[in-house]
Amino acid sequence: MSEHELIRRAQEGDPGAIELLYRRHSARVYTVVRRLTGDDASAEDAAQEAWLRALRSLRRFRGQSLFSTWLHRIAVNCALEGERRSHRKREAALPEEVEAETIEGEPLLRRRLERALDSLPSGMRRVIVLHDVEGYTHEEIGVLLGVSEGTCKSQLFKARAKLRAQLRWTREGEGACSI
């Protein structure tokens, strides 16, 4: 079924279409909220909130942008808002599929990167995830976070340096690996 047809059916409240729409885009939504929030519990809350918000507004979606782009923006907003009001303690656990990977080569690097991202202060994590992982511009991030482009750049450089230090530290603990 085409994306257009799927969205049309979901707009009419077809439960099968809604579930299929979720299956197609769930990973992208979960990925961005997981990395922005830095813990599993907050990520699950933010992902649910993003989907419920999107489904509530779906009738107003006119296809002026890609559905995935529209949904991604909602997910980012939910993650940022959720993190502001959430007082939950962060869980150190990594996402299941990352844990399940072998610790050889690239999976180890990924695991270390994910762990290092989780360990960053939330302000730094948001900027580096939005810029270096998701590809947002400083201008876009400034609007999302309500800060100037200069502040955004400064936070990004600090975040990269902090991440680098974190990776250096974990490399010493886990053995030789690139970066």
Partner: protein, 200 residues
Amino acid sequence: MQHLSEETLARLVAEEPTPEEAAHLAGCAECAAELAAYTEQTEALAALPMLEAPGRVWAGIEDGLVERARTRQRRASWLRAAAAVVLFAGGVGAGSLARGGADAPPAPRTEAEAAVQLREAQAAYVAALTRYSEMTGSDRAVDPASRLAALEGIVLTTRAALKQAPADPVINGYHLAAVGQRDALLHQISRAAAPVQTWY
């Protein structure tokens, strides 16, 4: 030799170095290696794979959708109730206005005619209430024993009131309606009753 700061190296991942920074990088293998590591880190971040959402996420969304549907249903019930009240009140108002108009029944000349009109008015009243219950969704079945007990209570109360005011039309109306409904219910129950019926 003064090395480039960490934040400078982090900046140089995507920005051009100043002439001084470029000169330093050309002559300092340590800083050049660090810059390469920063670049590799940034590229690795951009290449991070997507994560699968745990099954709990969809379960939570489904719960949220069900809850939202329930809320909408409750809101719709309230709206229906409000609409029914308006319709009912409108009907009563229209009936009052019509009294004495072209559609109004002629004024009774005898007690028998008055009694017929009273029964018709009671039937219309009961029909309107039934319709109201249907519209508001509050027409859930009440068990016969409870309904019979309630009707019996009204009969006793209105009978006592009639001793005080035997000619009062409102009290008479309530009493006759309650007696009629009680008798109809008793008839209905006796027809449906099993050999041993303990509804009382």
